[in-house]
């Protein structure tokens, strides 16, 4: 079990290696922004402030190569490889 710190709220939550950061956040009761939750829309775009993640398959339109090169991730596709810190960058519409 890894630890994910959500910088927006200051909370640190547990997240299994086979869970996405979004799954961990929702399970912890955090109102993390998301819409599609499957790598298609980009609503959960986040900045990886520290640590490393692996990314599940996603659509090109959801995360550009430039965004990825700048350390941005999709929380719905990112699985922690260790303890990580993230900041969500937008608020998804509900």
């Amino acid at each position: 079990m890894h630890h994910v710190t959500i910088a927006n709220t200051g909370q640190t939550i547990p997240c299994a290696a086979d869970q996405t950061i979004l799954q961990g956040a929702v399970a912890a009761g955090i109102d993390y922004p998301y819409t599609c939750a499957s790598g298609n829309c980009g609503a959960c775009l986040s900045k990886l402030e520290g640590g490393n993640v692996s990314m599940l398959p996603r659509g090109d339109a959801a995360l550009s190569p430039e965004q990825a090169a700048n350390g941005q991730i999709l929380a719905c596709r990112a699985q922690p490889l260790g303890d990580v810190t993230v900041t969500w960058l937008g608020r998804g519409r509900k």
């Binding site: 599609c36 298609n40 609503a43 398959p57 996603r58 659509g59 339109a61 519409r93 509900k94």
Partner: protein, 194 residues
Amino acid sequence: MSVAPRRNRACAKLLKDVNTILTIEGPTPSALHAIKLKLVALANKIDLFPMADFAMPVSQGRNHPLAIEDDDGMGLYLTINLPGKEAAPHDHGIWCVNAAISGAEQHDFFRRSDDGTQPGKAVIEKLGTVIVQPGHGMAMADHDIHSTAVLGNEPAVGLALYGYALARFPSVVWYHPEFASVRAGVSRRPSVTA
């Protein structure tokens, strides 16, 4: 010699035929079935869609515009989804027809079964599955709900025809059985002015 001129003519012919169907009947179930058969017939002409003409996704999913009508017209795309690519259950808010060129994609269909009174919450139940593979397609009405997942180890390449171009899509509504939640995406529809 490039097949692009032949492909463009074939795509334009499809849109013309589809407009004829829609003008007569509107997007009824029988009309969408007829449109699906026409899209399957176009996808079967695989010589019109050589992969060398279409860049692979940078990540795992990419749409290439083939024919986009003006204003509120339809959008026809060639879609490439790599193994592992998926989409959670969603409602486009506009009708959609798919047909496979190569590979296979699983489409599961759902209906919403809660009363919709809890904001942000939803329950859906699965109705059935269609495998979109060469020679086959699927059609869905404006508010049908489907999820997609690429099957096997081969890219799923296909044609997707939507009632509106993607750039003018309504809000797509996404359902998440795992979270019992529903979220609506941002509408790309032009704002209506008085």
